[in-house]
Symmetry: C2
Subunit: 218 residues, 2 copies
């Protein structure tokens, strides 16, 4: 499978590394910023481009992993390609890609950090496609890296994204508030780390309402 | 070390199991409810009591692990004992034990579930004592089970407890809200579990402000 990656951020980096590891061919990395494209392309041993006109027209998959508000512009430049064009955004409808020959959404429901390796095995891949053929291609790709495949339409994905912001970003913000209070009282964040870990572990095999214990209950 | 446990809930159960595992002798379990005392005492192969007048006066440590508003009553019944009397509450001052010969606080900063085993190794033990001798006894006990020992006074503990409620209970409540939204849209909580896990993992070796990524940033 030949893949062109459009974007060079955390999502682009983690996905392309995993896909390459599973034997896919990343033929190009595009970024508006050539040095960003270069860095990622070098790690994948492939070509970096900063001009959308240079995109290879014969890839099987075009993976758009850019900021939400840039998806439309990137997609527009791909009009005419026959490969499957997908974006990776939780908060963006599939309709932004309408007009392309084949299109879809590959939303990996995970938090990606620049400097932290992540095994993508088990990561939910929330897929939506304009055709069954497109869906199958993404399913094949996800299965190759051990992702958990879900069929999620744009309406559901909007809700899922909201839930993810609650569970991930708001929780992390709470950790940050806790750390701020601790730091201003000369207390180490280390004190809270085991509790944070256990709180997340507890809901891996149970639902949150059943495991509400800890400080607030005592 | 001879220990009397006053209380039979999650904290009492996990601590006594760990202490017994490290070779300490749990000589009695008290609970206002005899059948609760019986259940825990049976698992520890020791005596259950429901009458505070029957408490063994010759223990080295009296571990009070009851609801915050019951600590004072239990402590009052222990007046006259020479062993170290400690409570395990994050939100209660050490002063509630004033008048006892030796007293202190052993606040294990972790969330304990009834039906989930927990390795207490690495759990922060936040200790405060009326004497160095008392502190050393708790330190010895904590070290025996691999706990991380911290000296935390009552003022600091109040702040720490607040931070723990933010990081643990509020986060779990966010997980619950997310699950509610998902469930009412026929989406599985499984979709969020890897994200929740990774969000907690990320702050184990970094501070929260540095790792704020994920859905909300994209």
């Amino acid at each position: 499978m030949k893949i062109v990656c459009l974007g060079s951020g955390n999502v682009a980096s983690h996905l392309t590394a995993a896909f390459k590891g599973a034997g896919m061919e990343i033929v190009q990395v595009w970024s508006r910023n050539l040095s960003h494209a270069d860095t990622l392309a070098a790690s994948l041993n492939t070509q970096a481009i900063a001009d959308l006109k240079l995109v290879d027209k014969n890839a099987d998959l075009y993976l758009i992993a850019v900021k939400d508000d840039a998806i439309k512009d990137v997609a527009f430049s791909l009009f005419g390609v026959q490969g499957l064009v997908v974006h990776t955004s939780g908060a963006t409808s599939i309709d932004v890609l309408k007009g392309l020959a084949q299109y879809g959404v590959l939303y990996p429901l995970q938090t990606f950090s620049k400097h932290k390796d992540l095994n993508l095995s088990g990561t939910p891949f929330c897929l939506e496609a304009s055709s069954e053929e497109g869906f199958n291609l993404m399913q094949q790709l996800g299965s190759a890296i051990g992702a958990a495949i879900y069929r999620i339409d744009s309406e559901q994905r909007k809700i899922l994204h909201l839930a993810a912001v609650f569970a991930c970003n708001f929780s992390n913000h709470l950790y940050h508030l806790a750390n701020t209070v601790l730091a201003s009282n000369n207390l180490k964040f280390d004190l809270l780390r085991p509790l944070i870990m256990e709180t997340a572990l507890k809901v891996q095999h149970d639902v949150p309402i059943k495991v509400q214990t800890g400080p607030a209950v005592r």
